[in-house]
């Protein structure tokens, strides 16, 4: 029976990464390495105003004095920042008036990833900002959205076109010196998405950013800023993939969300960076700072993430619940297989009165992977009647992987109610046999059970995304259970 389990596990873990291809396209890169000159060079490449450069330099100087955080349950090999290219851009004309001017290779690449950039071909009602390596390649439906006063563009464009908004909001939720990787990003970020939803507007379509790492030896450092003005609503999606390579690549991103009075932002991620091969060679190091502030009363920020990729994931999408009666949510499915490591969770900081937060975290570990939930629920002394419910479940496939839970709770107001539930379970051999006896193959049985386990989170994803996520989960765990 043990051999059988091993076989099942090895079958399941042998799933192929679908997005491992590389697009051979002419790219412009800067020399390897990181220094103040490199920061200046990136800024000048982007024609940035002086204040932006100053922001970067301040972050860089601070970063030089910082140390990589070591508190996570991760084994992070030393990263040689002098061996990384900090800027790589597909060569193209500086201003794109229409899709015809986008390199057909790029369009093809995104087609292959299932992200059509041609608006006529899109029927799903999703506007996309496509980012390859260090630059945004194309943003769709910009005009349609502009009619309603919605700004959706690349971050670089926003710096040029909407400097007041950038100055007002950038770095306010995640300060440039917040942590090691946030400081690094603030110094060298190259592009990302910017989104502003004006007062009272309900964004008529899903907005999404698709991140693609293509070039070798590069890092991707993008930042996203979403501002939902009073009584507005937006649902935002993020997807990411990278080619299959033996070297590790670094991805350090920042996402900031600001929700004003009665605004609601729903942010969904399907993270599928290249996870490395079966033996743990290659894969993306994913160090991301995602944070939103519910600034106004009755505002709401909801994070949903499906994390299946990356060799190492370090990520804690968080909510600062400042406005009274504001709501923060975090729904997560994190899958690790083979030698992947994930340390992920959320922080819910209750500052306003009657604030509510929910954390639902579902970890799935297979192979020899390590999967940790780390979360903080903090209730400030003025946050009367704050409520939190946290549920952290771990599912183990096989007996060579690890699942860990690190919940931190700080309650400084007696009226607060904080609940924490945690379970750990294993897909049992008897469950698999029961399915087998009804004619269901082991592979499909695992799919059924895992999807059943993660359903609560999948239900929070927008429709097309949920289907995609389910498939992804099956691929990620293909061959992994006993």
């Amino acid at each position: 029976m043990e051999n059988d389990q091993d076989k099942i596990i090895s079958d399941a873990t042998s799933g192929e990464y679908k997005y491992g291809f590389y697009t051979d396209i002419e790219i412009e890169t800067i020399p390897k390495g990181l220094s103040e000159d490199v920061v200046r060079l990136i800024s000048s490449k982007k024609n940035e105003p002086e204040w932006m450069l100053e922001y970067r330099l301040k972050a860089f100087r601070k970063w030089q004095k910082m140390k990589m955080p070591e508190w996570a349950h991760l084994k992070i090999p030393e990263i040689n920042y002098q061996d990384i290219i900090f800027y790589a851009a597909p060569k193209q004309k500086p201003h794109l008036e229409s899709l015809d001017e986008v390199d057909p290779e790029l369009i093809e690449t995104f087609n292959k990833l299932g992200i059509p950039l041609n608006e006529q071909k899109i029927f799903t009602g999703v506007a996309v900002d496509a980012v390859m390596d260090s630059v945004s390649v194309k943003t769709t439906f910009k005009e349609t959205l502009a009619d309603r006063g919605i700004i959706f563009c690349s971050f670089s464009e926003a710096v040029q076109e909407h400097p007041d908004l950038i100055k007002k909001y950038m770095g306010k939720v995640v300060p440039s010196t917040d942590n090691y990787f946030a400081a690094l990003n603030s110094a060298v970020f190259s592009d990302g998405s910017f989104c502003y939803i004006p007062k009272g507007v309900r964004c008529p379509m899903e907005l999404s950013t698709y991140f693609r790492i293509n070039a070798a030896n590069t890092g991707q450092f993008e930042r996203t800023l979403i501002i939902a003005d009073e009584e507005s609503y937006v649902s935002y999606l993020e997807g990411c993939t990278a080619p299959q390579r033996d070297e590790n690549q670094l991805h350090a991103a920042i996402v900031e969300i600001i929700a004003e009075k009665r605004a609601e932002v729903k942010y969904s991620t399907v993270q599928n960076w290249y996870p490395g091969d079966k033996n743990g060679v290659g894969g993306i190091y994913n160090f991301v700072t995602k944070r939103g502030i519910c600034k106004g009363e009755y505002s709401k920020i909801s994070w949903t993430q499906v994390e299946t990729g990356s060799a190492i994931t370090w990520k804690y999408p968080s909510c600062i619940l400042k406005g009274d009666n504001s709501v923060g949510e975090f729904y997560s499915v994190a899958v690790t297989n083979n030698y992947q490591q994930a340390d992920t969770g959320s922080k819910m900081i209750h500052i306003g009165k009657n604030t509510k937060s929910t954390i639902i975290s579902k970890g799935i570990s297979a192979g020899k992977s390590q999967n940790s939930y780390r979360g903080l629920v903090k209730v400030h002394k003025n946050a009367s009647h704050a409520r939190n419910f946290s549920q952290c479940d771990s599912l183990l496939l096989g007996d060579r992987c690890g699942a860990h839970t690190f919940p931190y709770i700080e309650v400084n107001n007696q009226t607060g109610i904080v609940e924490h539930e945690a379970t750990t379970s294993k897909i049992g051999e008897d469950q698999i046999f029961y399915c087998n006896q009804r004619g269901i193959s082991t592979e499909n049985a695992i799919g059924l059970i895992v999807n059943g386990y993660a359903k609560e989170v999948f239900n929070k994803l927008p429709m097309e995304f949920a289907v995609e996520a389910q498939k992804l989960l099956e691929i990620s765990l293909e061959g992994s259970v006993g």
């Binding site: 399915c435 269901i440 059943g452």
Partner: protein, 251 residues
């Protein structure tokens, strides 16, 4: 349909089945009775393909094929159904989804397209009525939080949905009150076809008041020690298993 020849199996080195021979023909109902620990459940598990028992000797032919060569899911798709003594809970997986996946795997095996949602719901309604299963049960997760009786009824419901050729019911009557027992037995009787067969494994005779077997076998210490008509079951109920033990010992 099923020919078992001198089948021997061990669990963790201990011989549990010590040479079983048995033939089941289409249209027949066989009852396998015996005291606890005689090997009844092991026999059922071996027929379904569970690998905790190691087969050391003998052969099993099913519909002309070597059953022991087939994977558990192949056996299912070829028409073998095992009603579990202890049905397994699968949290998060709805009965509907579970059953639909199973049916589609069976259909695929027969070269048919997946069943349409409306056809599926229609069949499900019919079969639910047939086995008198509560509607709400099928909208819940597989066996999760079901009472003992509900679990057993759910087994019969799945049997109805999959329309097996050979059903093996392992102690389906254990833990059932008389009403549940009647429902389960009625289900089995209604689902009986001329080209199907059933093996009922039971400790007690009372299930056989409702399901009338053509043949009754007594399994004792890993061997079939007695085979006769349905009157054997009644004799066992009256006299218990001791006289069988004595008979065996005196041989």
């Amino acid at each position: 349909m099923l020919q078992i020849k001198d089948l021997k199996a061990t669990i963790e080195g201990k011989e549990i089945l010590k040479g079983i021979s048995l033939e089941v023909k289409e249209g027949e109902i066989h009852a396998i009775m015996g005291p606890n620990g005689s090997g009844k459940s092991t026999l059922a598990a071996v027929l379904a393909g569970r690998e905790f028992a190691k087969i050391t000797h003998g052969s099993v032919k099913y519909m002309g094929k070597d059953l022991l060569e087939m994977s558990p899911e192949e056996r299912s798709k070829e028409g073998i159904f095992l009603g579990f003594q202890y049905p397994i809970e699968i949290p998060g997986v709805s009965m509907v989804n579970f059953m639909k996946t199973a049916i589609n795997e069976h259909r695929k095996h027969r070269g048919e397209d997946p069943i349409s949602a409306s056809d599926f719901l229609k069949i499900m309604r019919e079969k639910k009525a047939l086995v008198e299963i509560d509607s709400a049960l099928t909208s819940r997760s597989v066996n999760e939080g079901f009472s003992g009786g509900e679990k057993k009824r759910n087994e019969i419901f799945q049997m109805a949905m999959l329309e097996p050729k050979l059903s093996i019911l392992d102690e389906t009557d254990s833990g059932l009150d008389i009403d549940a027992l009647r429902v389960v037995a009625n289900g089995v009787n209604k689902l009986k076809r001329d080209d199907s067969a059933t093996i009922v494994i039971t400790h007690y005779q009372r299930l056989l008041d409702y399901i009338v077997p053509d043949v009754v076998h007594v399994l004792f210490d890993g061997k079939i020690v007695k085979t006769a008509g349905k009157e054997l079951a009644i004799e066992l109920e009256e006299k218990g298993y001791d006289w069988i033990k004595k008979e065996v010992d005196s041989e």
